[in-house]
Symmetry: C2
Subunit: 201 residues, 2 copies
DNA sequence: CGACATCTGTTGCTTAGGCAACGGTTCGCG
DNA sequence: CGCGAACCGTTGCCTAAGCAACAGATGTCG
């Protein structure tokens, strides 16, 4: 089985309610356990037990706990941005909204503190954030001011990584400013990049 | 089917996890809907939808929404008392704990406000509370100071109804005292009844 | 070293839930 | 009155989840 492997993490709709429910419970279980112990100290048995699901059911959804982690992080970040309806449209402030989302997500995400680093959790978070932010940027750019696809992809990647890097550094800073302040600073910093190269080729 | 009919509401343990989960979801769904509209304005379709379950699944657990209401209220009150580990033992204060539980439950229970009265919801609550409180009293009396079974049953019923009636009146009072204060008053009022007739025949 | 414990993937069978469809009731509205 | 809409209670078929059991890997303690 392993229907939810990596790439098909977010086919939320159209799915059997039982499947969506089970995956949701596995996500919640892992998130809960991450508040108590490190990722590599968590067994699949624990996750299944915490979720109130059978261990065999875990394997019918994910091949291993790493894939679950990736899907959990991706789904949660995607959900956060979707709930806030973050998108790049004609009115400004999109970059600020994106940066706010990333900052808030990093703050709330268990397993990411001032301590620890280089773990599997950080990697999953980074991947998920960059991928989702890239998607938002690309969709907005294509809809608003079309440009060369290669340029668009490069630009989106650059901005996505820039925002993630800034937020990642920010969240690990002892006496950091507010997320709001950080997001505004990032917006001012990056906006020129987004609008400068429009329609260039 | 209809495995959870009325009397066998609380066989929680030993049951297939899927069954416990579904019933829990139906309980939560009904409780949620009761915060929004009156009981007889709620359809089974709504309950199933709110629970994220199929309508047919509802019928495999309960014959109608009245049974669900009874089970939901009973389970919730029983769970509240169990979590607080309320029981009649050698040290005093049992009646206060019981009264506190009843007051807190009535306060939190949706569908019971200063308004409305004589509805199906009130009836279910009354039945559940009296039954559970009677059980607690009977178990405690048998364990602590055995007496004639008939007397015990009558005494337990009397006290249970007294507490319910007091709490019912209290919760519908405009400017009521705290639950703590009310429980203490009831304890002082009823304790003599509980201890007076011990070992009588 | 062996004994014991825990976790891992995987299997086959059983059971609960999803779904579509049915006929039947009630209600409101033109 | 007829019509549609919504709810009811039930059915049969299909799919996901529970469960027990397996062999194998790892780890730890005496």
């Amino acid at each position: 089985m392993h229907d939810a492997g990596e790439s098909e993490c977010r086919k939320d709709a159209l799915l059997d309610p039982r499947i969506r429910r089970s995956r949701q419970m596995l996500h919640d279980a892992l998130a809960q356990l991450l508040t108590q112990k490190e990722f590599d100290k968590i067994s699949i048995q624990e996750i299944a037990e915490q979720a109130g699901l059978n261990r065999a059911t875990f394997y019918s959804h994910y091949p291993d706990k790493f894939t679950l982690l990736n899907c959990m992080v991706g789904t949660r970040f995607h959900g956060l941005m979707a709930r806030r309806n973050v998108q790049v449209n004609d009115c400004g402030g999109a970059l600020k909204a994106i940066a706010m989302g990333v900052c808030d997500f990093l703050i709330d995400m268990p397993g990411v503190g001032v301590a620890a680093g280089g773990g599997q959790v950080e990697g999953s978070i980074q991947m998920a954030i960059v991928e989702v932010v890239q998607g938002i940027l690309l969709r907005g750019m294509n809809r608003h001011e079309p440009r060369d696809p290669v340029d668009a992809k490069t630009l989106a990647a650059t901005i996505a990584w820039a925002i993630y890097g800034a937020a990642y550094t920010w969240v690990r800073t002892e006496e950091r400013c507010t997320a709001e302040h950080m997001a505004e600073a990032l917006d001012r910093l990056i906006s020129p990049m987004l609008h400068a190269g429009a329609s260039g080729g």
